[in-house]
């Protein structure tokens, strides 16, 4: 022992105090610390963390009391991470044996964290509001409406990297107002408000044809160019004499081209039975819908529509201006005798509405419909009182003048969608007592929001209502993963864990990035700046026009090489690559280590070209599973273009961001945030004043001890990927210099390339990756951040992954069967609530 005897005495006194103050069980961890753990730490960590040595602010021999030792969970959690991550002790020092490690780990878990392995604490999940994605999908499944929540609702706040964390999913008054409005809009969009409507038939644009050709039965639209004369026609058969309303539906379209405007115009003439009804000029309008309606008194029989396009100008055709003929809608006849049931009427009202004077029958029918709807929407049976109140709403609305039975029911449905029981995912215990299981309806919702990002389907609910969901859990999970809705799991989980969602809008300047791979030429750069300046200017003098033409000539050639690369057009494919790849691992139950390294990926023609894999013969725009050539740099998410792009800066790579990404999302050991008032690392200046390469700049920074502690871990990881530019494309040079990727990990392994790093991660750091992925997935699944108490849950999942070679199904099974997923901390009794401080004036 290294302590002086005085300290030992003090400790003993402190320990006895501690014993006196703590539950009996807490006495043993303190004793264990002195007998087992401290000697271990002294042996392996003593050089830097004992006897006054306090490297990184950590000393293992200056706890004032045992209480201090045992309550410093943050310290021990750090110890746990660093020891398991092979970061401590440092590579060159002696390392504890696996048994010794396990002893330390167990002491931290069961002693310091106080985890009871026989009765794991499920933790506390704050009631979760549906986020934008879940709301969208739930409404879609409930009512078949594709309601654009990204437009209607503000972005959800995220916590721990995910947007389904109960604690941060706030509900502002503005959002509540939007929920009320959305409920109205959604119900109004799909629920018929009357029993009969005027028939309405759409003659789709694609079915219009040249007078010679036969009609096509394609239900889509038809695009008519501004630049070519055209005449297309179609006919409509009216069943009855009467008054009809005919509406022509058009959208103006163009292909956006930066800084180039197309001033062409055309004339459109619309005729019905040869009579001109509309005659109008169109210029460049952007994407705008146009509707023109006409009243027609028709005899039964065929009627002819024609659309004629006359080009009016012959300016340069820069933006592919076109009129998209969406179709012609015919509504009528007016005579109510011929009216029909509205579309989808039976879906909402399966039986005829009882007659007006059958009040009891109507009420019973309304109640039946609303009970059924509310049960689906609330994802558990609606209680009798709520059903009664909903029925009251419906009946009183129906009783208003000019109102219908259907309107009443629709009104009740609006109330359901606005209810907190719909908007929040309330979970209930299956029984009383400590850490009860959640009831099966709650379980059904947890499963469906995890795997589908939407409400449970009929099968899940019916199993839950029979109390048979837990008994059939494996089969149900299998069924759910096979369902197309499981694409949402890949989309939303990888969208956030791997930040694939950001691919859609990350700001990148392709030209600047590609340009910077070559040697710097200040003169060219000035000229190029001037070129771009001229391009942006709206009104040019003749001189400037000439200058621009000259520069265009010059730079046009330079950039022609980059022409194939339109990053904006690749965003979708890059995002899909991540999702499909993950889905493949899920569906085929592959090892999750293949997320880090593999010999396959998903590509379409464009993406293959972007990756330089031009000899694989991939054509078309659909992504498909592709076997990569041996020694390909791709394979695994870390070398996917999308992931590389979202961890870059707009004009250059960021090894720091890329390194941090790996520490955070692969190794699960992110460094603490940088101290305040520090400049970004890459921006250091050289003493000699010459322009530094990124690698040099980083090296200078790591020379500073304060920076080194974290950047020694981040930078080598990030620099390994320097062969991939900020767009995620392969490159050999940066500013004309060959790119260098070699480096060394904190844990000691050296590598020469990203490929080698990926292999090291798979071979030596699989456990850390399992732990990270399990933690991320559990966080996403239960909607709360993980705490010390969850360490054992995660360890058990890691153990089973180890045993199974990392199969995805084992990971998912571990999460779904874990205490945090299956159980809940019971709500405190009402007595506790009365005493607890609360702002809630409820």
């Amino acid at each position: 022992m290294r302590q002086s005897s005085l300290i030992a005495v003090l400790l003993a006194v402190a320990m006895s105090l501690f014993v006196a103050m703590s539950p009996a069980s807490a006495a043993s961890p303190a004793r264990e610390f002195h007998k087992q753990i401290q000697p271990l730490l002294s042996q392996y960590c003593g050089d830097c963390h004992f006897d006054g040595m306090k490297k990184g602010g950590v000393a293992f021999d200056d706890f004032k009391t045992d209480r201090d030792t045992l309550t410093n969970k943050e310290l021990w959690s750090m110890v746990l991470k660093n020891v398991r991550g092979h970061i401590m002790p440092p590579p060159k020092k002696a390392h504890p044996s696996p048994e010794e490690c396990q002893r330390l780990v167990n002491w931290i878990k069961f002693g310091v964290f106080g985890i009871d392995p026989k009765n794991l604490d499920p933790g506390r999940v704050t009631v979760r509001r549906l986020n934008r994605v879940e709301y969208h999908n739930t409404v879609h499944d409930l009512l078949g409406v594709d309601f654009d929540t990204d437009l209607a609702f503000p972005p959800d706040d995220t916590g721990y990297g995910f947007d389904d964390i109960g604690d941060v999913l706030n509900l502002s008054p503005m959002l509540l107002e939007k929920y009320l409005a959305a409920a109205n809009t959604i119900v109004g969009e799909c629920v018929p408000m009357v029993s009969r409507v005027r028939p309405e038939i759409n003659v789709p644009g694609a079915s219009f044809h040249d007078s010679g050709d036969p009609p096509s039965h394609n239900g889509g639209t038809k695009s008519l160019s501004y630049y070519n004369s055209a005449w297309v026609e179609n006919s409509f058969h009216a069943e009855h004499d009467g008054h009809y309303k005919v509406t022509l539906n058009l959208t103006t379209t163009e292909h956006y081209v930066d800084d180039q405007f197309d001033t062409n115009r055309c004339r459109l003439v619309f005729r019905i039975d040869g009579q001109e009804r509309e005659n109008r000029e169109f210029g460049r309008e952007g994407y705008v819908d146009f509707h023109y309606s006409f009243d027609e008194q028709w005899a039964a029989g065929d009627h002819q529509f024609s659309v004629e396009i006359q080009p009016l100008t012959q300016y340069p055709q820069l933006r592919a201006l076109a009129l998209r003929l969406n179709g012609v809608t015919v509504s009528g006849p007016d005579d109510t005798h011929y009216w029909i049931e509205p579309k989808d009427y039976r879906r909402f009202f399966p039986r005829p509405v009882p007659a007006m004077d059958d009040k009891a029958g109507r009420r019973a029918y309304a109640k039946e419909l609303l009970t059924d709807f509310a049960t689906k929407a609330f994802r558990r049976p609606v209680d009798a009182e709520t059903a009664e109140r909903l029925t009251d709403l419906a009946v009183s609305r129906s009783a208003e003048t000019n109102s219908t039975f259907e309107e009443g029911v629709a009104h009740g449905m609006v109330a359901v969608l606005a209810s907190p029981q719909f908007l929040f995912r309330e979970e209930r215990p299956a029984s009383s007592g400590p850490n009860p299981l959640i009831d099966e309806y709650s379980l059904a919702s947890r499963l469906s929001y995890l795997l589908w990002s939407t409400m449970p389907d009929a099968e899940l609910i019916s199993l839950a209502s029979a109390g048979k969901l837990r008994a059939n859990l494996d089969a149900q999970v299998k069924r759910m993963l096979a369902d197309p809705k499981a694409a949402e799991f890949s989309r939303n989980f990888t969208g956030q864990w791997l930040q694939a969602r950001d691919i859609e809008f990350v700001a990148l300047d392709s030209r600047a990035i590609l340009f910077s791979q070559e040697k710097k030429d200040p003169q060219m750069e000035d000229l190029h700046d001037r070129y771009r300046e001229l391009q942006r200017m709206k009104h040019l003098t003749e001189d400037e026009k000439a200058e621009l033409a000259k520069l265009r000539e010059r730079f046009g050639k330079t950039f022609r090489r980059f022409d194939g690369i339109r990053f904006d057009e690749l965003r979708g494919a890059l995002q899909q690559e991540v999702q499909l790849y993950f889905t493949h691992i899920v569906r085929e139950d592959r090892s999750v280590l293949e997320l880090l390294d593999s010999d396959y990926t998903y590509l379409n023609q464009r993406l293959a070209k972007f990756y330089g894999l031009t000899n694989l013969d991939i054509t078309g725009s659909d992504l498909r599973l592709v076997q990569l050539p041996t020694n390909s740099a791709r394979g695994g998410v870390l070398t996917m273009g999308g992931v590389l792009a979202v961890t870059s800066n707009p004009t250059r790579t960021s090894p720091v961001k890329r390194g941090l990404f790996i520490l955070d999302n692969v190794l699960g050991n992110p460094p603490p945030p940088p101290p305040p008032n520090l400049p970004a690392l890459e921006d250091v200046k050289s003493d000699t004043g010459h322009e530094l390469t990124l690698r040099e700049a980083l090296a200078i920074h790591r020379g500073k001890p304060l920076c080194a502690s974290c950047h020694d871990r981040m930078d080598p990881l990030g620099l390994a990927f320097e062969n991939f530019n900020a767009l995620g494309m392969w490159r050999d040079t940066d500013h004309g210099e060959p790119v260098e990727c070699s480096g060394k990990l904190m844990s000691g392994e050296s590598f020469q390339s990203a490929g080698e790093l990926k292999r090291i991660l798979v071979e030596n750091h699989g456990d850390e990756f399992y732990r990270t992925l399990a933690s991320k997935l559990l966080t996403y699944a239960i909607g709360r951040g993980l705490d010390y108490q969850d360490t054992e849950t995660i360890d058990r999942i890691v153990d089973s992954l180890d045993k199974s070679g990392g199969r995805f199904s084992v990971l998912l099974d571990g999460v779904i069967k874990s205490a945090p997923f299956q159980r809940m901390r019971p709500a405190p009794s009402l007595g506790d609530q009365a005493n607890a401080p609360t702002k809630a004036k409820i």
Partner: protein, 465 residues
């Protein structure tokens, strides 16, 4: 499943640019209206006699707005050389020169609560959330704890005078996924306004929805009817959902009840708005097309949000507004003005001249957009014959001083407008290291708010504004 929605959003974005022209064309016509007599809030003038809240000496509405810009500013280019009334406009503020008599440059005001202290990194999260709260925020990824912001505190006192107690706008319609600044909850970085210690007020980032909130949905002429219809619909379910929330709350524990409480607060606010609509009658419809959505060009987007704010003040829909032009730490690139690097990256300029020059271009660009808005305010007549700008107090500033240093003292700040004659613009005033909250209190005084002794870290009032 969301593919369709994505597509329609792109279409909407493309359509937006077009509609903005329509919208603005319409607004031009709006300016031409003779002095807005029809807007005269007679009931308000009567009320003003008893209770001169948010009202100028000449009986016009007095407004306050806070506009936040990200990542600080290049200091040397921001501050004028001389102070007092003989100051010369600095390069960054040059665009405001035409508005000289209406501009006060406020120097040496600080937000010391945004300093790191024991909390370490996270100056962007702090710069943003301290800006209007003047309060140290709790460092946590999920456990939000800030304080009521000045705009909300004032709205609680004067909000009943207008259809909307306050208006919160932002141009951040996309949020980055993953964690935010240095383990601070993302909510700290995307919100300026807080209605309580734990509840951020989500800003509206969709111009169409902001417009509809003020004037109703649909075409000009049918908006009021639409509003009434929507409100009738809302009213009829409010009792039901309120009851539902109460019953649900009984089943849940405290943390959950906080969420239900947010829900109930929302319900009460909807009720209050319905009552306000009854009290105020139809709003003055600007007679323009409703903006279509979020324009794809950031410049157009920002200007559209400024237009919404201008419209809100012009129609006296509210007297309190905030606009976050972009959240602190925003890394947008400005290809439109030839700066393709990210703003945040550049702001760590390390005193390299080329990077500073680029940051300055962005700073200037932001000020130009402000100038455009202020000119519009200046050229719009209020009911007392003065300009809207004269009858306003508009703070434009950032939560970090220099983006490279992450300091929170001597924050770049402009105070525009004459506060209905209570401010002395046309000067550059150095306040000698005072808390920004002192400025807020001085603004509160001018709005007639009586019982605000202190706010955040305030030490008194600013004497010389």
């Amino acid at each position: 499943m969301k593919q369709n929605a994505d597509k329609s959003r792109q279409t909407a974005a493309r359509a937006a640019a077009f509609s903005r022209r329509h919208f603005l064309r319409g607004l031009g016509a709006c300016i031409a209206l003779p002095a807005f007599e029809s807007l005269t809030p007679t009931k308000l003038l009567a009320a003003a006699a008893i209770e001169p809240l948010a009202t100028t000496a000449t009986g016009a509405p007095l407004r306050a707005a806070w506009i936040f810009f990200p990542n600080g500013a290049i200091q040397d280019a921001w501050w004028p050389e001389k102070d007092g009334s003989s100051f010369a406009f600095s390069p960054t503020l040059k665009a405001l020169e035409d508005l000289r008599p209406h501009i006060q440059i406020a120097g040496e005001l600080d937000h010391l609560c945004a300093l790191a202290g024991p909390d370490g990194g996270g100056d962007h999260a702090r710069g943003q959330s301290v800006f209007l709260t003047s309060h140290r925020i709790k460092k946590s990824a999920t456990d939000l704890h800030a304080s009521i912001s000045i705009d909300q505190a004032l709205a609680q006192q004067i909000g009943h005078l207008t259809r909307l107690p306050s208006l919160e706008l932002s141009c951040d319609n996309e949020h980055k996924s993953g964690a935010c600044d240095s383990n601070y909850a993302c909510a700290y970085q995307y919100n300026l306004s807080w209605s309580s210690e734990t509840t951020p007020v989500t800003p509206e980032s969709n111009p169409r929805l902001a417009f509809e909130r003020m004037f109703g949905a649909g075409q000009p002429g049918e908006r009021w009817a639409n509003t009434l219809r929507v409100q009738a619909e809302q009213r009829s379910i409010l009792d039901f959902v309120m009851d539902d929330a109460h019953r649900m709350a009984r089943r849940l524990d405290n943390r959950d009840r906080d969420k239900l409480d947010q829900y109930l607060t929302g319900v009460r606010e909807v009720e209050a708005r319905i009552q306000a609509a009854g009290r105020f009658g139809p709003p003055k419809d600007p007679g323009t097309e409703t903006p279509a959505g979020v324009p794809s060009s950031y410049g157009e987007y920002l200007n559209l949000m400024y237009d919404i704010m201008w419209l809100a003040f012009q129609t006296d829909s509210t007297r309190i507004a905030t606009l976050c032009v972009a959240h602190d730490g925003d890394n947008r690139s400005f290809g439109e003005i030839g700066v393709s690097e990210g703003h945040h990256d550049l702001s760590h300029h390390q005193n390299k001249p080329d990077r500073m020059a680029k940051v300055q271009i962005i700073d200037e660009w932001y000020v130009k957009q402000l100038a455009r808005f202020l000119k519009k305010m200046e050229s719009t007549k209020d009911i007392d014959g003065q300009s809207l700008l004269h009858n306003s107090m508009i703070v434009y500033g950032a939560g970090n001083g220099d983006g490279n240093r992450h300091n929170h003292d001597n924050l770049p700040l402009v105070l525009a407008g004459a506060g209905g004659g209570t401010l002395q613009p046309g000067r550059y005033v150095k306040h000698g290291s005072k808390p920004m909250s002192n400025l807020f209190l001085s603004m509160a005084d001018r709005l007639g708010v009586k019982n605000m002794e202190r706010f955040g870290d305030s030490t008194g009032r600013l004497q010389n504004i």
